[in-house]
Symmetry: C2
Amino acid sequence: MELHPIWNDYPQLQPELTQTLELMEKSIQLKNEPVKKALLEMIGAGGKLLRPAYQLLFSQFGPEKDRQKAIALAAAIEMLHTATLIHDDIVDDASLRRNLPTIRAEFDNNTAVYAGDYLFVTCFKLMSDYTGSLRSLQKNAVSMEKILSGELGQMEDHYNLAITVDEYLANISGKTAELFALSCSAGAFESGTSQLFAKNVSDIGHNIGMAFQIVDDILDYTQPRAEIGKPVLKDVRQGIYTLPLIYALQTEVKQLTPLLEKKELMTEDDTQKVYQLVNELDGVNKAQQLANRYTKKALKRIDNLPNNPENTKIILQQLTQTLLTRTN
Amino acid sequence: MELHPIWNDYPQLQPELTQTLELMEKSIQLKNEPVKKALLEMIGAGGKLLRPAYQLLFSQFGPEKDRQKAIALAAAIEMLHTATLIHDDIVDDASLRRNLPTIRAEFDNNTAVYAGDYLFVTCFKLMSDYTGSLRSLQKNAVSMEKILSGELGQMEDHYNLAITVDEYLANISGKTAELFALSCSAGAFESGTSQLFAKNVSDIGHNIGMAFQIVDDILDYTQPRAEIGKPVLKDVRQGIYTLPLIYALQTEVKQLTPLLEKKELMTEDDTQKVYQLVNELDGVNKAQQLANRYTKKALKRIDNLPNNPENTKIILQQLTQTLLTRTN
């Protein structure tokens, strides 16, 4: 089990992230051995662990120093994230994730449904075992409600050529930013910070999450297939139009529309043309600028946090900046 | 919104069951209107509400008389049950439920995945909003873990002609009896009974649940299609072999095996023959006898409960007896 290379630059975070992974593994108690094995492989396959990392970092700000609890909550959040990935892979008909076959591809959709459900439950089990308060569970439930309501909302926008930037932002706010906001604020709040402090941290997490998802969507239009471990522009074929494409459509609709209207019948040539047009029409650049703005907002707020504990602010800034320029 | 006719004989339970349904409806807050409508229709379509009913009945035994809380927990349990039904319908490729199109049939599997997830979360939200203790949430999480571990375990037994009665009982213990046990024990415990009392009530719930599932499986071999609102012996085609068939296979394997080995290629004629053979080979009778035994065990334990509150014991006995002889 190895950590993602992103953590090579942060040796001080490695021990707790490793413990987070170990606790996740220990929590998978299934009689169905093949499914158990696949879940363990997925967990061990080097996901970025960004949500637990932010949670652990923000848990440094409160007076409470129970690291076992902080690690358990970090594991719970990553478990929740993994559950949504497994269910997302069903919905997206995906066959690769972290360069491994997805659960639905290795087994079938049916196994993936229950395997995702199982991780959802494990998340709640970890939370109810380790959290000190019902209040955190309530917040967690409210966030998950927003996330799923967002996922269901997004499905209404499939193949919507008229989707606006605001609609896209609302979708990713529910789909991605909410879980970053929860990770950050739960880290702070459970370590005993004030509600007000946790709310501020929640906003920081929201901005980090927005930037993260926009960069993720940009990578579809800038990286060749092998490097991101998933097929290029599969989303577009499935009617998921993200920010670079939305900006490109605002500039010039004529060349893109006939290609996109082929829907799942788009050929490799068609998606290549979309890929090229989105870059030429400045969609990638404009999206990058918006990601920059979200990152800047986050960095500014992080800068206003207390300097104690030492280094935590600097790590938060460095990590948040790194996410903006990542290539995978 | 009407209650299932089973409650016509229990006028004293009707007000709280109606409030349970109303709270469930109020808890569905989705921006995606078509999905929201479908979920509300499913909830309103007259499910039996057995789990909330048992929870509400057993919540009479403790000193605490907060009925709003009891109703909220009943709604949470039924929400959890509904979530598993939606995901089960994906796995079973089912098109009808309660004589309505299933979510996966009316929309698609993708919507059903997230819609089920959403109800899972709503269950936890209700529980964390209304329960008094983390202890209950822990128990709830442990039960859900068993349920999903059971569902995943059962998938390994598909098309297993050598499946034993014990393996079948282990499967339905996880799949069905666990949630009945949780409903009953959570009802008691949250009303302030002792742990010991709640444990006894959990065993009662387990026995009721075992009998319930066996009767459910018997109905596939005794009821014509229209009355149960789902296609006859679809399960068999999908490799799910239940108690009546398992008993029949123990008596006489030669006639059944070649039919079952056709798997999903079984014709209507084939399933009709299986249906007939299971009845002729005494599979239905033997299964009925085992269901009787579980019901008897439950009734005996119920008989040992305190007589206070008045009538609760009698209602529990009457309801449990009714489930044994139901025809839908």
